[in-house]
Symmetry: C2
Subunit: 396 residues, 2 copies
Amino acid sequence: MKRIGIALLLLASACFAQGPDGFVPASTNVWGAAYPRVDANGRAEFRIKAPDAATVKLSLWSNPKLDMVKQPDGFWTATTPPLVPGFHYYSLIVDGVEVSDPASHSFYGGGKDASGIEIPEPGATYYLPQDVPHGAVREIWYFSKVTANWRHALIYLPPSYETQNSQRYPVLYLQHGGGEDETGWIKQGHANFILDNLIAQKSSKPMIVVMAYGYAKRAGYVEPDLTGKPLGSPEMMKGMQEMSQTFEDDLTQALIPYIDSHFRTLTDRDHRAMAGLSMGGMQTFQVTFDHLDLFSYIGGFSGAAGQLVLGNRTLDPKTDFHGALADPAAFAKRVHLLWLGVGTDEPERMKAGLEKLHTSLDEAKIKHVFYESPGTSHEWQTWRRDLKDFAPRLFQ
Amino acid sequence: MKRIGIALLLLASACFAQGPDGFVPASTNVWGAAYPRVDANGRAEFRIKAPDAATVKLSLWSNPKLDMVKQPDGFWTATTPPLVPGFHYYSLIVDGVEVSDPASHSFYGGGKDASGIEIPEPGATYYLPQDVPHGAVREIWYFSKVTANWRHALIYLPPSYETQNSQRYPVLYLQHGGGEDETGWIKQGHANFILDNLIAQKSSKPMIVVMAYGYAKRAGYVEPDLTGKPLGSPEMMKGMQEMSQTFEDDLTQALIPYIDSHFRTLTDRDHRAMAGLSMGGMQTFQVTFDHLDLFSYIGGFSGAAGQLVLGNRTLDPKTDFHGALADPAAFAKRVHLLWLGVGTDEPERMKAGLEKLHTSLDEAKIKHVFYESPGTSHEWQTWRRDLKDFAPRLFQ
């Protein structure tokens, strides 16, 4: 573009070296951006030029806001205490307006293309590209009769997909959280590298992973007028239920048939799994228990059976999940894996809900896995670890 | 994410309807964002909440900046005059700080994830998804010995690639501009839909399109210290040349061998093309004329042979391009297509350079195509049209 030449890019790239203080540019930065920077202790240093601003704050979403300090050269800077390893969303707040940092690549979260910073976890390589065979991530567009529009999804194909032309593969449907989209599991989660590494170690079976767009509006649906209605009003709850159901119908009536007719999949329920994080975990529980004819592996990452996890009431194994839990032996035969995960530092309400579901399942003698990610919150490092524990249990 | 629930997303999505004034949300918006909006005349209306800001400006990069006006509710708004159809980058400038609009998806341009707005072109459907067989866009990561790191590229596979398991395909290498990256041709350019539509009409041969990352730093290269050096200093020019050469080596020594060993390609020069826009056009001319053993189709979209187009001097067919133009008949036999394109509203210097190259090629009796996109500037609508004219001429 005329706004920036190669010259400028080159100039910027000259800033790539490690500073004398041990800080290096974050891996989430755009080409050549020297800031934000991270050090070996997990501290991060942010900088933005805003000579005319009166206040600039740093908002790392999982942390308290930090006032940035104006330097004589018009740059504002802030250095954090050591952060939890993994991916964190952040924004800058310039004179009260929440904006993205032009130095960061953007990651769809919170309903917008937000900034993000990766804090390395010492010794953890399972979500990084390694010298192993790599699968491919592919975009598809499919026309959905449910929503009457073109929908976008990402597909991970395992390394052997290209070379073993007659092999068919099991499929994991893997959903993002609320405010995120179908790109999250690749861009923030590194699901492709996690699978590449697990498959190379023979910890996981080669599988196809389908990442769908988690919002859907039914063709012809007229949204309720919510003007003046409070959050959680009956009209809004009805609207949410409608969206959920539309997503379920799109997934089961449009996406799965598309995937099964365009990729070499194993199409029976024994070879189809679904998991999701947060909102995606709730969607997973809804879709899979409505369609046990289609799914036999179920994963809830920091999110599971809506009302139960939100803490409103206790599991009733006779009636909940369409009565699928009423007979534990029959359930164990039918559902090969029921998996719940949560970070130990998640907000109390989320943790309590999942723990309660876990103990209720225990009491009902329903075989399941309950995984806790030590020291991580309602963030991507939890969900990367979830996938690392969950995927090897599939299709064995 | 805890910052935004499904509820909020649903609330926002209720704003999706067309307003009484004929404005509708832009197709480039994030899910549920009601602004920016466009009308049938190509006007665009922008809005951002910034109650504490003193000034907010709208910067549509190809247009003069527009002052936004503060409304009593704390929102700032601006409506543009009718804009040229196509994709435009934009930023908001809040109290002097250039930021992205949280309501827009982001598009990598100008060295950052910038905001963008799509202005529909009445009657133009060639770059939109249609009910035709769709190819797939795929991400690859390849390890380059030239740069000693993992590099990312996007690959378009034509619709028949999956079903015709023994067919091999020709390949077009297609490059982004300066400040953009390998995602540009898909996200901003819709190259996949352009090819889908051309292939469905049988205007283009089915082909693979490879979109590489246009920046490269050679393993072990120590960048010059440019502190205090002016733009265009000898040290900077040397650095740019080094980056160019590294990109060329990466493309020819790492990427092409990777593509030819991982995809069903036709690997001879008669079935390999390269084109690029702006900086990518310059790279194309450098790479292809250095490697006529590898390429036989060449396209420069608003960018071509560096110095010649930049206007410093006139073509010397005896020595330029390693003397490949010295014998027009031999050249026409060897290079199946030499293609130049420019928008009629591009900045004078760019237009003049390409026109001069065009007339010099005519004078040297070098067969080539010169395409002018009416009414468009140094922007994506020009390059979409370029691809639409260029692709059908390949591999026939």
